[in-house]
């Protein structure tokens, strides 16, 4: 029907735009690649956040953990990690294409698997806390990781790990990174799109709406919470792995665990676009990223103030976000029925 065709056209155009972008705007490849990463950030946050009601302030932990896991695995294929990091970046690995891509792939897989395991272990503890305690607890985890990795010599402490050098030209690497982020973002979107249409999707919404009720109905709430967070961790870990490779070095404070930048952006973008919806995080991430890229350098120190104000305004006055607002205005578009006629023949009809 018309709707199905429109949706198909929408998806096709986005796909085409994504593929064409680096060739049409070669000067902005890095920024557009970051856009895909931001979309991934928002989508993964929203799984446990907007859809399940567990608002995490520490999802960035998986980003950094994945980064470190990938780096360590990749380097360990070629040399002793302890010696390598002890050289404090003095010795950088130079690999050929085959070695580079093989080890990167290994690192990517390791980061995904490792982060899922971390999500399950951490989740068992964190999901025993509700609401604001979960938020603060996860923030605490991310901040702790930041501190602890800074003191851990095996992974280079405060200096971090120097990543292997890309075997080709920088322009080429940018394209590869772009492809990585684009692919991951698409994979994330398709995964959550599918998830939200299953029984699982409904279950996590139930946990959000009334967890006690869900428990009283026999739903395995802990199981669902762990799965939801694992999905987030899976994609975040890989995103981190790519980011580490792209940056050229993995450092705990600003690169791996940027709690006050990316960590908070994740939340802000989802809220802006409309948490708890499929497209909300995508729209929010796009708008946020574009505006940020355009205005950041002009605001000269006021950008953080602007960000704080944005958070306040969004949270206080525009809670439902863009998609939420759209859903309220045009509910029919989303298959939501709203009763406009008051129920006079009230209860007997029932």
């Amino acid at each position: 029907m018309n709707r199905k065709r429109n949706t198909a056209i929408l998806y096709a155009s986005i796909l085409a735009a994504g593929i064409a972008a680096p060739f049409v705007f070669p000067d902005y490849v890095t920024q557009i690649a970051m856009l895909w990463m931001m979309i991934l950030f928002a989508l993964t946050w929203d799984i446990a956040g907007g859809q399940m009601g567990y608002n995490s302030l520490g999802n960035i932990f998986f980003f950094g953990a994945g980064m470190y896991i990938s780096a360590v695995v990749q380097i360990s294929i070629f040399t002793n990690v302890r010696d390598y990091t002890a050289a404090r970046g003095g010795e950088q690995l130079v690999l050929d294409y085959g070695d580079y891509f093989f080890s990167s792939a290994a690192g990517l897989v390791a980061s995904a698997v490792g982060c899922v395991i971390l999500a399950v272990l951490l989740g068992r503890v964190m999901f025993g806390m509700r609401g604001p305690y979960f938020a603060i607890g996860t923030l605490g985890v991310a901040l702790s990781a930041r501190e602890l990795f800074s003191t851990w010599d095996l992974v280079g402490g405060g200096t971090g790990i120097a990543m292997p050098v890309y075997p080709g030209m920088p322009d080429e690497m940018s394209l590869v990174v772009y492809a990585g982020y684009f692919g991951l973002a698409i994979a994330t979107f398709l995964t959550v799109k599918w998830l939200y249409s299953t029984r699982f999707g409904l279950a996590i919404n139930a946990i959000r709406d009334d967890e006690e009720k869900a428990e009283a109905m026999g739903i395995h709430t802990m199981r669902y919470k762990l799965i939801a967070w694992s999905v987030s961790a899976f994609f975040l870990g890989m995103a981190g792995a790519i980011f580490g490779a792209r940056t050229g070095y993995v450092e705990p404070m600003e690169v791996a665990f940027p709690t006050v930048t990316f960590g908070i952006f994740m939340v802000v973008m989802s809220l802006l676009g409309g948490k708890g919806t499929l497209w909300g995080p995508v729209i929010g991430a796009t708008i946020f990223h574009v505006i940020k890229e355009v205005t950041w350098t002009y605001l000269l120190g006021w950008q953080w103030v602007a960000l704080g104000v944005l958070i306040i305004v969004n949270v206080v006055f525009f809670q439902q976000g863009i998609m939420g607002w759209v859903q309220e205005k045009w509910p029919e578009l989303f298959g939501i029925e709203v009763e406009t006629v008051p129920d006079d023949a009230e209860e007997e009809a029932v």
């Binding site: 702790s144 602890l148 003191t151 006021w302 949270v315």
Partner: protein, 302 residues
């Protein structure tokens, strides 16, 4: 680490006194900030993530008064408290008012946003250097120079006790104090009895800001302030309140002083670079501990 530990245990145990005193003095300030956090939390169910930034803001204000007008920090303290009170009231009326009734994540993020704005504004206004408000007092030495305590620290400790005592007396005796306590127990009943809960909420938030401002003035006097030092202070306050539980004043005092001691000791024994990690690590520990406690009663940490 073992070397440091042996200093404490065998080589120069007198040094324990140094750590103990330093821990107490700074812990007293932690208690103030924690009390304010618990106040707002208990009365309005708002978990003020901007608490630490208010503290630092107080510190900068007192420094500014000294820097611009030559006002001595101790005299500046009450002025700062009043200024912060007004600031807190303003924040309530413009922002907090709208989040009191909403879900907890809303108030958490809103106060987070406020904290972000405050610390960035401080950074823009004062620059990122670390500062202290010089109170110009000397240093006392004990035990043949092994233990040195800046005189200002004693004064700060006394002021902290004085402040805490005044707030407690205020809460018990004054009409507004009683109104606050009534509202925190049952807001609807308070309203029915004629208490203007809006005013109570505004006053509470403003009072908290004032307490933070005072605490910040003390921090500026005996420690260091820097625009981004807010978050650790917020975490400390949160750790103390979570460990002690709301409405448990003696618990807050013990936990606050205990935290001060813990930080001093860990900084000395494990190393200064671990101090931040200790604070944050304690946060996770306290939350998990509390969760286990509640699980015994089949409740959840809400």
């Amino acid at each position: 680490m073992l070397d440091n530990l042996s200093i404490l245990v065998s080589i120069a145990p007198i040094f324990n006194v140094q750590l103990f005193l330093d821990g107490l003095f700074i812990g007293a300030i932690f208690v103030l900030a924690a009390y304010g956090l618990a106040l707002v939390w208990g009365v309005m169910n708002v978990k003020n993530l901007a608490q630490g930034q208010f503290v630092i803001m107080g510190g900068y204000l007192v420094w500014d008064l000294g820097h611009k007008f030559g006002i001595h920090p101790i005299l500046g303290l009450p002025i700062v408290a009043i200024l912060m009170f007004a600031f807190g009231w303003l924040l309530y009326v413009t922002i907090i008012k709208y989040v009191v009734t909403r879900d907890l994540f809303t108030s958490l993020l809103a106060t987070f946003g406020i904290g972000l704005v405050v610390e960035q504004a401080l950074n823009l206004a004062y620059g990122p250097e670390v500062r202290t408000a010089d109170a110009g007092f000397g240093t006392m030495a004990f035990a043949g120079g092994m233990v040195t305590v800046a005189e200002i620290k004693f004064i700060s400790f006394a002021l902290a006790i004085l402040l805490a005592a005044s707030v407690i007396v205020f809460m018990k005796k004054s009409r507004m104090g009683q109104a606050i306590r009534a509202t925190s127990q049952d807001a609807r009943a308070a309203r029915v009895m004629g208490i203007d809960t809006e005013k109570v909420y505004a006053f509470t938030y403003a009072l908290n800001a004032a307490i933070c401002g005072a605490a910040g003035s003390l921090v500026a006097m005996i420690w260091l302030i820097q625009p981004y030092y807010g978050v650790p202070h917020s975490i400390r306050a949160f750790v103390i309140v979570t460990a002690a539980g709301l409405g448990n004043l003696p618990g807050v005092i013990m936990a606050g002083l205990g935290l001060g001691l813990a930080e001093q000791y860990s900084g000395f024994v494990i190393g200064a670079e671990f101090q931040q990690a200790t604070v944050v690590g304690l946060l996770v520990v306290v939350l998990v501990w509390r969760m286990i406690q509640l699980a015994k009663h089949r409740q959840v940490v809400q």
